[in-house]
Symmetry: C2
Subunit: 284 residues, 2 copies
């Protein structure tokens, strides 16, 4: 497994691979790899891309001022071992200065998708995401890139950006990977105390609850969200950022569940902000 | 000469060329080609890029509301003849809908370079430029792209964007091409009445005047600009948008001419806005 630290070396490695007529699949991460990330690497391997590149970069541009940039967890040694075990071909591990030099001033921004869900409480987040992904696409030159569906809005933003900017890159979404008790895998789960870890189940439980209610024939989004909100509030230290039922493509809120609908949740558990989601089909 | 109208066909043409180990040079234009554009194509040929692609697209995103998008001149038949004569390999000529589909919402924007010169009176212009050039880079996948130095600020914006977004593309600037009497070539010169055509000389004359004054040892930017402004105002129908002496890299205004300095001008002649510039070296 090659570890590449500079943009120039990454671009020349990718060029060499492409000149051999081979394909590259990129898995962008912020490190502290968990089974969710590993499923993305496995997906790249399973889809028979010739080379799978994992990037590890905690992107300052996607963190707001009062967010957890400085405390974001890191364990590179473990990351390397996990990636190598899955026969990852290369790790791209740049320094911050390699990605954002001192005169950096260009950003990629979407006009409407960020005005929903996480974008409302994290106003600079998706600008930071679109910018770093654009850069990674130009640095790694992949044929495909894989992102987790846990960050549903991020995946939609990247799909739209890729299309709008005419990147000839296939964007793949991978299913959410969960702990045995249902908690969606997240590097941020490490912040939770044992008591908060219990409360964190309010997210996945709410999704199950919504599936049951919708399965019983309820179509009124307001009623469903009211029940979910009450459930979340019954957990210690749980503070709702948002709960929303929306169109899976536009992310606009829906009033009535008539077709496949995205249920998206963001809940603050103590100081830790967790998200989860599911696309629920009322026909099933 | 191949004429390509869709993104998919352009990308697949470029991929084929690259797979043959050949290089591509892009010359982005809005059509209505004049000798300035032709010098860019010639430069691409002279630098021995295997294929020179000329894009022709009047980009709505870089025009402000009260600007000349609807009246921008066009003569595709003549453009094709001129491009073919210079053995251009391909013309990329997309429809507006091919470039901006109805859900389009992603823009590339720079934080500080546009807050100077033309950006001040054309607030959306460079956002539109950076966006379309990003798209063209992903569509044509060139090894190099050539832009005219007449649009000096545009060239700086594109250099910065290319660096910030990690495009592995060489950006080349080509010298301004002028009419015999000094007027810088521009598709917009066609808007001028014969009387206005006379007045349009105020731009190139001001540059010559500044060179002379600086050559005589004047270093005070204020004094130089005052003399230039007075000269421009002596022409009929000439209304100054800006005259500026600034750092050629940052575009920040300078007070004293100590090293190579950019003189940049924008003057409205009747309804036609013309620009011109020169980098003046006080040592020469």
């Amino acid at each position: 497994m090659k570890v590449i630290k500079t943009v120039a070396e990454m671009q020349s490695w990718s060029k060499k691979i492409k000149n051999q007529g081979k394909t590259i699949c990129l898995v962008p991460t912020m490190g502290y790899l968990h089974r969710g990330h590993l499923s993305l690497i496995e997906m790249g391997k399973k889809l028979l891309y010739d080379k799978v590149v994992v990037s590890i970069f905690v992107n300052p541009a996607q963190f707001g001022e009062n967010e957890d940039l400085d405390s974001y967890p890191s364990d590179l040694e473990k990351d390397f071992k996990l990636a190598e075990k899955l026969t990852t071909d290369a790790i791209f591990l740049p320094l911050k200065e390699e990605i954002y030099n001192k005169n950096f001033q260009t950003y990629v921004e979407l006009a409407s998708l960020p005005d929903h869900l996480c974008g409302l409480s994290r106003p600079v987040h998706f600008k930071g995401v679109a910018t770093i992904v654009t850069k990674l696409f130009n640095i790694v030159c992949p044929d495909a890139a894989i992102f987790g569906q846990k960050d549903y809005q991020q995946l939609q933003v990247i799909r739209q950006m890729t299309k709008d900017m005419n990147f000839n890159i296939k964007i793949l979404g991978a299913p959410i990977v969960r702990e045995e008790d249902g908690l969606a895998m997240s590097s941020r789960n490490t912040y939770l105390t044992p008591e908060q870890r219990e409360s964190a189940l309010c997210l996945s439980e709410s999704i199950e609850k919504a599936k049951t209610i919708i399965g019983q024939g309820e179509t009124d989004a307001g009623i469903i969200l009211k029940k979910i909100n009450a459930h979340i509030k019954s957990f210690a230290e749980a503070k709702i950022d948002y709960t929303a039922l929306c169109d899976p493509d536009t992310l606009d809120n829906v009033k009535e569940i008539k077709k496949k609908t995205l249920l998206a949740l963001a809940v603050q558990i103590g100081k830790t902000r967790l998200i989860d989601n599911a696309v629920i089909d009322p026909e099933q």
